[in-house]
């Protein structure tokens, strides 16, 4: 039985990078969707949630076409910045960002929407602007929602298969993630190796979710 750690390490590297970026863009995006009076927010809200219902292959297909060097965007990125998105780690990150976006944004959005408006208005009446209110009043109080977003985005990125296969392919050390390695090994009838990867993913997912529920209970207890 032959196996290496490369696909597992790559998977966690991807999940970490994607979760960190999503956290940074997820908060302002969720805030805008939750509080903006703009009518377009429904369109944005819908777009953010699209990956929840679309087959991963559809998203992967569009990304593949968009970033393919044969077409405009891919060609532009490659000629202007020397950036090749398809079949690269960058491509995996971009695809996962899109695909895990609702898992980060939706819990945070719900946290914002359920937040008592009297607290926000109290802060405004005390002379504080929206920024100060956000980081001193709202964010500390919706920690459980933030934690949910982080854990869900992280766990979902680890578990992604279809979209990353479409855009990343199966290049060892570059785009071969654990989920793809399992598929690969099964196709080659290496059930032992596939089982090894699968077991590691199961254990890690269990630990992450267990810690999440445990911590969430504890965080909520503060109030």
């Amino acid at each position: 039985m032959h196996y290496d750690l490369q696909p597992l390490l790559l998977t966690f590297q991807l999940a970490l990078v994607v979760t960190a970026i999503l956290f940074v863009i997820g908060i302002p995006l969720a805030y805008w969707i939750a509080f903006s009076p703009n009518r377009f927010r429904y369109i944005v809200e819908t777009l953010v949630s699209m990956p929840l219902v679309l087959p991963p292959t559809v998203v992967g297909f569009y990304l593949l076409v968009a970033f393919s060097p044969q077409y405009f965007l891919g060609h532009f990125l490659q000629s202007a910045f020397g950036l090749r998105v398809v079949f690269s780690f960058t491509g995996l990150v971009i695809a996962s960002l899109l695909f895990s976006l609702p898992f980060m944004v939706n819990p945070i959005k719900a946290g914002f929407q359920n937040f008592p408006s009297a607290l926000i208005e109290s802060s405004y009446c005390l002379g504080k602007g929206p920024w100060e209110t956000l980081y001193r009043v709202i964010l500390p109080n919706i920690r459980p929602a933030l934690l949910t977003g982080v854990v869900m985005a992280f766990a979902h990125t680890i578990g992604e298969f279809g979209v990353v296969l479409m855009i990343g392919g199966n290049i060892p050390g570059q785009t071969r993630l654990a989920s793809i390695a399992i598929y690969n090994e099964v196709e080659a009838l290496n059930y032992g190796t596939a089982g090894m990867y699968a077991l590691v993913l199961v254990m890690i997912s269990f630990v992450v979710l267990f810690l999440f529920y445990y911590l969430n209970r504890r965080t909520l207890k503060i109030f």
Partner: protein
């Protein structure tokens, strides 16, 4: 001097109504907006604070225009600086009492002022507690102190005593009056509680279905001047019971319950919940020290 003339559509259980008010409040006055729920009291207060936008009208405070629909002036909430105390206190649950108070002080926390107000409001020893560890009355007092520490131009109290038990109510009523006497700050209290409004305010605006139907001192508004009784109180009927040929009314006067005998004629048109005046003529009440 606060002048306001405001119009706004509002949704009530009875359908759409217009708030349409025009009133002046003198500087340093303690004013009550009195009326049933959904009469528009809270909306009026929110429009003054800048939390709800009127459809038409203007607000002028001490010569400064806060809102003018024709000139498109709408001063943001943050610059209006109203000490708004919300019905459900609005304390930040993740901050201790001290942090809540410091939050109001701006960039530089004025610790002397915080110390003073915690003492005045009877909050000494509670500075390190979270709001969840406080009683209802204590929470309101923290909210009051916090609003005062933001150095507001006026205090806006939206039913600050709702949901409190009698003891805590009286307690917070006293603290509100104390704070008003100490600062002399214009205070507007929204309430549907007669005894509270009567006890606390100098001037009352009665609001019904978005319009001011009466205004003046509590005496003018609530006590029928035609009556020449020497001894009179306003109260609310809690219970009516028939006993032989008379009726026994249980009344809530101020914060006390009292029983009064009444004939059939007297109680015609009255029901549980009716507001009444209890008066006695040619009557020599006994005064006893308690």
């Amino acid at each position: 001097m606060i002048r306001l003339r405001l119009k706004r559509r509002m949704h009530t259980p009875q359908g759409q109504e217009w708030i349409d008010v025009d009133l002046n409040i003198d500087r340093g006055e303690f004013v009550a907006l009195f009326g049933k729920s959904a009469a528009g009291k809270t909306t009026l207060l929110r429009m003054l604070a800048g939390l709800t936008r009127p459809q038409e009208g203007y607000i002028e405070v001490d010569g400064e225009i806060w809102f003018d629909s024709r000139r498109k002036i709408d001063l943001p909430v943050q610059q209006r600086r109203t000490g708004f105390v919300f019905q459900d206190d609005g304390l930040f649950p993740h901050m201790t009492v001290r942090r809540n108070l410091e939050y109001a002080c701006g960039d530089k926390a004025d610790h002397d002022m915080i110390y003073e107000w915690t003492a005045v409001m009877g909050l000494k020893g509670m500075e390190d507690r979270k709001p969840s560890q406080l009683s209802g009355g204590q929470k309101r007092r923290v909210a009051l102190a916090r609003a005062l520490l933001s150095k507001p131009k006026m205090m806006l109290l939206d039913e600050p005593l709702s949901g409190l038990d009698l003891h805590a109510r009286l307690d917070v009523q006293d603290e509100i009056i104390k704070a008003w006497r100490k600062t002399g700050i214009t205070t507007i209290l929204v309430s549907h509680d007669l005894s509270e409004v009567f006890k606390m305010s100098q001037k009352i605006f009665v609001i019904e279905q978005g319009r001011i139907t009466a205004s003046g001192s509590p005496q003018d508004v609530f006590i029928n001047r035609e009556l020449s009784g020497k001894f009179r109180f306003t109260g609310q009927i809690i219970d009516i019971q028939r006993d032989g040929v008379v009726n026994i009314l249980t009344l809530c006067v101020g914060n006390h319950l009292t029983k009064v005998v009444a004939g059939d004629e007297e109680i015609s048109g009255l029901a549980v919940g009716s507001r009444v005046i209890v008066a006695a003529k040619a009557f020599n009440p006994l005064i006893l020290k308690v």
